[in-house]
Symmetry: C2
Subunit: 322 residues, 2 copies
């Protein structure tokens, strides 16, 4: 086939690394990324979009490689000064280079630009080689309901749960606040409708891809696109490849297994599913649920490994297309 049009729903680190592999696997493809904005947060009066930035920095060559998020060669002068003023929070690690991104974004939003236009402007510098769209221009904030020490319940911002609390308190519910009223950002539904294939990278199925799918219209557009939808399991051997996806899977009543995540997406949405070779015994269960399944190595140890995974996902898509 000619130039493929690929739509990818992406969270942060896992999505970004998969996308880097995908670009290497199909350098001529036209890739549109629909990024999660549910973990966006206002810090120090600035709008921070961790997932969009991780994709942008990773594909644009500015990422802190080992850490997976934030900028390479980062310094922390502003953060130290804010601490000297007694201004928090101190648990979110914003570096000086990163601050500049949030300052530009906040200034543009304050001037009336929607997040999609702001993201495009930021990408004019980073040239990520994909079209990066926020899932929505509206404000959606993922909250996690946890148990308090006195036995009550309270909702905290996803970043507070994830970064400050290290996902230690059991999550009782995950709520994408504002999602029901949100509209897909300009270009999202059109990209889905024109896609040749739609991919779910090994991103968090609840707080990353799940949040994107919670924006009314996006799940339906994907299900109705009439093109192969293929996902890659973020769970390998019963635990998340990275991050703490198992914590939030429990909150939505889904077992932390490759098969259970496939079933959570469901055959109404998903046509193909890649599990890791260590989870090969899950293949029959997934296929019995009506989702084509293959077991291949799913550890993104480097860009080549990610490229091979992307190639496998596209091969499975062609197989599904039949």
């Amino acid at each position: 086939m000619g130039m493929q049009r690929i739509v990818v729903l992406a969270g942060g680190i896992g999505g970004a690394r998969f996308l880097r592999g995908l670009k290497k696997a199909v350098p001529d493809a036209e890739i549109t990324v629909v990024g999660n904005t549910g973990d966006d947060i206002h810090l120090f009066g600035l709008k921070v979009c961790p997932d969009l930035d991780t994709v942008m920095y990773t594909l644009g060559g500015g990422i802190h490689e080992e850490q997976g998020w934030g900028r390479a060669d980062e310094t922390f002068t502003v953060k130290e000064e804010l601490a000297a003023y007694g201004v928090g929070p101190d648990w979110f690690g914003l570096g000086d280079r990163d601050f500049a991104t949030h300052i530009v974004r906040t200034q543009m939003i304050g001037a009336g630009y929607p997040l999609s236009a702001v993201t495009e402007a930021l990408c004019a510098r980073w040239k990520p080689g994909v079209r990066l769209l926020p899932m929505t221009d509206d404000r959606v904030e993922t909250h996690v309901v946890i148990e308090t020490e006195d036995g009550g319940r309270k909702a905290v911002h996803f970043q507070e749960y994830w970064v400050r609390l290290r996902a230690a308190p059991p999550a009782q519910a995950v709520v994408p606040v504002g999602a029901e009223q949100a509209k897909p950002a300009p270009g999202v539904l059109d990209a889905v409708a024109r896609a040749d294939v739609i991919l779910f990278p090994p991103s968090n199925p609840v707080v990353s891809i799940g949040t994107i799918l919670a924006v009314p219209g996006i799940r339906e557009a994907i299900a109705d696109a009439g093109v192969p939808v293929v996902g890659l399991s973020p769970i390998v051997g019963g635990s998340p490849v990275r991050g703490m996806a198992d914590k939030v899977l429990a909150a939505v009543g889904v077992e932390a297994t490759a098969a259970a995540v496939a079933a959570h997406y469901g055959s109404g949405l998903l046509d193909g599913w890649l599990v890791d070779t260590v989870d090969a015994d899950a293949v029959p269960e997934v296929e019995a649920a009506g989702i084509r399944c293959r077991a291949v190595p799913l550890l993104m140890t480097d860009v080549d490994a990610a490229a091979r995974m992307a190639g496998e996902a596209l091969a499975l898509a062609e197989e599904v297309r039949g």
Copy 2:
């Protein structure tokens, strides 16, 4: 006399250095500083208050000593990153440490705090040893009217005139936009009413002290306070000690001489005036205009020199009080 209550109207560098001397000269005095906010500017969506910060950093021990403004040990990572995004202006030198101040200020203003409360919060860190009040919580922006290349006129923000254009185009007018509608910040009129002496440091008489006096109520309160009002000439030997005060003096039709500046303030406001020893021949002219005048060294070469100047100003105030 016991603990003196001193009110000082201050611009940036000159005011800050004078205040450092004043604190040394009368360590037990209760000093209230009414700071100019007419050169405040929004940069990158952040509210920057150059004069208030110069006073705060200088008295709090954080100033870049040689430069006279900005922070010591400063780095410029954020500014470089903003430039990489193509976001300007590039002519205003905000360092990383300084950015933190503006981030805190902007966040507090966004949360609804008036500038006076924000300034107090920032000073809780810097402990300047004076009560630092903005002249007003309302927005006042000093604009300078200049001639354009095609012979027309246009108004530019004071910082653009001062920093970007280095005061090169002749200033035709100086307009403190918003001053007429501004109210003195809480505490300003009360401090003036309770003062034992009021001082005008060798700050810019037009864009610093002149702007403060343009806030309705402040000039009147000073004139009616019934206590000595003593100023120090920013003009020594026919030119400004530092800065480009002569440029904006011309715009208001005032000659750049020590005597002309005293006359510009006028005997209705000013009781005493210090000129530099090189301007000793101006003393009779100033006194003939009804303002007590002495010639003393007015170069703030170090803190001790500034302290001696402050001491001379207070001595002249006592002489005026009679």
